[in-house]
């Protein structure tokens, strides 16, 4: 019974929990509920992934209305995988929020935070799970609006302008997406994405469809912060509360990449997206510029959170680069990096939260001497940083291995060289922080700085351990990513 309704419960549980949090404003209830709902969502997504791996695609008709008329939740390997990423990271982050929020947010209004957190999670899960293009837009708006709220909760007043900036850019992106969806509806008369994929060839790829493609691509690129549409991201991640940065960096951009994949492959089909239209080359160029420009900018940041934010822009470049190769190998690398990057950026932003908790700042000068003062926190930073660089035995290495392999497989050896060269820039910006923390004496007045509380360290280290585990045994992650990539390509043949 419950098993059959698992797909809808995946979204409904956090959705119901969100307003309930507001009702349970006393003491710890709101936090407990949010924690339970998020963990339940994680459990459900794992079950869904297991079922998809065993039995193949799951289709769920919302309210019993058959697709393509009703809304269909359609779970194949790709979105089952993304569901696990989103709910998994948010499970680690939610356990962390309570302690870190103590400092960054007014205790009395804490329940509002959990409520928006759950709404954002609902939106992200909904975008991922749905098989309906318009429904996707609706969920995207839910997640976006709640994420503006979350960002504006940042400790600094600049959080407000950052949230506003994101709001403007995000709204433009969402509007572009809804215009694209509308044009598609006009061309085919359907909103179900699989149905769209089946009907578009018959409807003919006229100018309307091409326009829809352009709107959707730009809209999704805005949401995923593809260079040069990334301008909202550094401020948003820098000024948001650390736990929110971790949550958004690890999930929101990943879901946006998923949207792009879904439209390129399932709706428009690889042939139209990449052969009829010259999409691959511009994407590749932008991805490479992102890799180098953003990493270079990251090197010169003095705010470490901002440094990580720019590194995110660079890492998104890797994902788009894999996609732009238009091979199963390249797509595997993209899907794999969704997962691995979520792990490393999640871990690193949580470290930022730990540091902020003790120092009230994440300016690089404050890191001096932290290797001694906060040994576990800084060890987590080193591990996450190594993963970001792509050192063996970390998840980042597996991603890079697959991406370079895919590039060489396509005969693009210069792409392979560019990938490894740009990852060397990561060595520079990670090492700047490491040297500061381990080689410089702490500034005066930092004598009382001590290790972050356990309730923050445990979630951080959970993600760090996941980084290491999936760097050693990557059979599961690479295997699923590979099958998902094949499925995306197979969907059009």
């Amino acid at each position: 019974m419950i098993a059959t309704h698992l797909p809808v419960l995946q979204v409904v549980v956090p959705l119901i929990a969100a307003p309930t949090c507001i009702l349970l404003r006393g003491k710890n209830w709101a936090f407990m509920l949010a924690l339970l709902a998020t963990w339940a969502a994680f459990a459900m997504s794992c079950m869904l992934l297991a079922r998809v791996l065993d039995d193949g695609v799951i289709s769920y008709e919302l309210g019993g209305w058959a697709a393509p008329w009703g809304i269909e939740y359609r779970i194949d390997l790709v979105n089952a995988y993304v569901l696990v990423i989103v709910s998994g990271i948010s499970s680690a982050v939610i356990a962390y929020t309570r302690q870190s929020m103590l400092l960054e947010f007014v205790r009395e209004r804490e329940y509002l935070f959990y409520s928006s957190y759950l709404l954002c999670l609902t939106g992200l899960l909904g975008v991922t799970i749905t098989g309906d293009a318009f429904n996707l837009f609706v969920f995207l708006e839910i997640s976006s609006l709640s994420s503006y709220v979350l960002i504006s909760l940042g400790p600094d007043r600049r959080a407000l302008t950052a949230a506003y900036q994101y709001l403007v850019m995000g709204t433009i992106g969402a509007t572009f997406i809804v215009i694209g969806v509308g044009l598609l509806y006009h061309a085919t008369g359907t909103l179900n994405m699989v149905d769209l994929g089946a009907r578009l060839p018959a409807a003919g790829y006229d100018r309307v469809v091409v326009a829809a493609f352009a709107f959707l691509t730009i809209g999704a690129a805005l949401k995923l912060a593809l260079f040069p549409l990334h301008l909202w991201l550094p401020n948003a991640y820098t000024y948001a509360p650390s736990s929110v940065s971790a949550f958004l960096a690890a999930t929101a951009t990943k879901v946006a990449v998923y949207i792009l994949l879904r439209f390129f492959f399932t709706v428009f089909g690889a042939e139209f997206s990449f052969e009829t239209l010259p999409t691959a080359v511009p994407l590749m160029v932008l991805a490479i510029i992102a890799m180098f420009a953003a990493s270079t900018v990251a090197i010169f940041q003095v705010n470490v959170k901002r440094l990580l934010a720019y590194s995110s822009v660079a890492q998104i470049g890797y994902m788009i680069l894999g996609l732009s190769l238009v091979t199963v190998g390249g797509l595997t690398a993209t899907i794999l990096h969704l997962f691995n990057h979520a792990l490393m950026k999640g871990a690193l932003f949580l470290v930022m939260g730990c540091v902020y908790y003790r120092l009230k700042s994440v300016h690089i000068d404050g890191f001096a001497g932290l290797g001694r003062r906060m040994p576990w926190t800084m060890a987590a930073f080193v591990a996450g940083g190594l993963s970001l660089i792509g050192v063996p035995l970390t998840a980042g290495f597996i991603s890079k291995w697959q991406l370079v392999l895919a590039a060489l497989d396509s005969g693009l050896w210069w792409i392979a060289l560019l990938v490894v060269l740009s990852s060397l820039l990561a060595v520079v910006y990670v090492w700047r922080v490491v040297e500061k923390a381990y080689f410089e004496p702490p500034p005066a007045g930092h004598d009382k700085v001590e290790e972050a509380p356990l309730s923050m360290l445990i979630p951080t280290w959970t993600l760090v351990c996941a980084n290491i585990y999936f760097g050693i045994d990557a059979e599961l992650t690479v295997g699923v990513a590979q099958r998902a990539a094949v499925e995306l390509f197979g969907g059009v043949q």
């Binding site: 792509g390 050192v391 063996p392 050896w413 392979a416």
Partner: protein, 497 residues
Amino acid sequence: MTPGDAILTAIFLPLVGAVFIVLLGSRPNLREAVTLGTAGLLFLTVVSLIPAVLAGDRPATEPFQAIPNFPLVFVVEPLGMVFATIASSLWILTSIYSIGYMRGNDEHNQTRFYVSFAIALSSTMGIAFSGNLFTLFVFYEVLTLSTYPLVTHHGDSAAKQGGRTYVGLLLSTSIGFLLVAILWTWVLTGTIDFTNGGILTGKVDGAMAAVLLFLYMYGIGKAALMPIHRWLPAAMVAPTPVSALLHAVAVVKAGVFCVVKVIVYIFGLDFLSETGANQWLIYMAAFTLLSASLIAMRKDNLKARLAYSTVSQLSYVILGAALATPLAAIGAGMHIAMHAFGKITLFFCAGAIYTALHKTEISDMRGIGRQMPITMAAFFIGALSVTGLPPLGGAWSKWYMMLGAAETGELLIVGVFIVSSLLNVAYLMPIVAAAFFQPDGDPAAQSVGAAAAPTGIKEAPLPCLIPLCLTALGCIALFFFADQIYAFLTPIAAKPG
């Protein structure tokens, strides 16, 4: 214990030791006992694999598949066996030596030191037994990172700078070149297993092979081929035991070991000599060999001189492998062992001099032979072995490499070998001569006519002294056992099948 288990034990034992070292951090005596015990057990484990390899077996184990198509595989073949035996046996001696040195100099953070050391040894074992390029790469990187805390042990700004050069060069070359080379090999051949006779035959033409070889040789930065040798002198900011084991044995030897392994098992000697892809490498290695010796002559800091001497000696191994004849390749394999014993003796002596007399500059070392006769005698033996004179181990490896060079008709290279040996004499022997034959004290004091006060014996503490005597004796013993090592290494040059 099956051979497969023994391989895994060799890799995990130092890690288990590391855990105990951390746990016993507050009790130095127990902590050091764990280090010594782990080192002893590791040596026994490694040695237990020798009979199987001698019998022609290639014990192997595949613990798990890391990425689909790319498993972690461990295979014991003669070259790796030699490397693992040297590294594990010298770890015991270095551990004894470190205890004397670290306590004698009252160093801080000793627990971190021993932990990093153990992890470095674990990754060295991983490199030695790696059965494919993927495994090799994984442990190669772990070795770089686990030695970083050792190199920067002093924690001052010189250490930071040295560490930056160290990690920067080693990481950037391995990620920038080696990783690409490995994946390119996979794309070309569909395999990355080490195979007798190589895997590239018929898959690439000569020019491509030369490019690939370039990626490999500069990707393996630990082999210190010029111009990416800078990390090695930079790493000399480390405490001397680190320089001894890691930068005379484990790290640099891991570098040249990878070079020989790639040339022998990935390219194949015949393939290289037929395509001529090795030509550039021969000349580059010869250039490194000579110029590093010349630089060494101009260094007054003893450790810096030894560092450049190491750069030069590493190029012997690269050159031996690059000549791509069985004789020279086996000679290169032997030189890994011979040079390890010779160079570690020299580093031990440098550390002993520092511990006893706090001297680091060669110009200050006049006459110290009278204060430290045993140390300087050992230094003399080590220097002779590094130079390659009988009756010391280093003579044989150089002999075989020269034979190999003559065999290929590269007379210029034979000349390089001879000139370089003379240079070795020129930069090592003056240290010994000055120590024994020149009066000590500074010249200013001499000129005013103050009689040179007879100085008493002032050797380093016993834990420092014993290991360096043992390694010096090892240099002599290796001269007489060279035949066995030669026979042991012969299969590496065998044709497949």
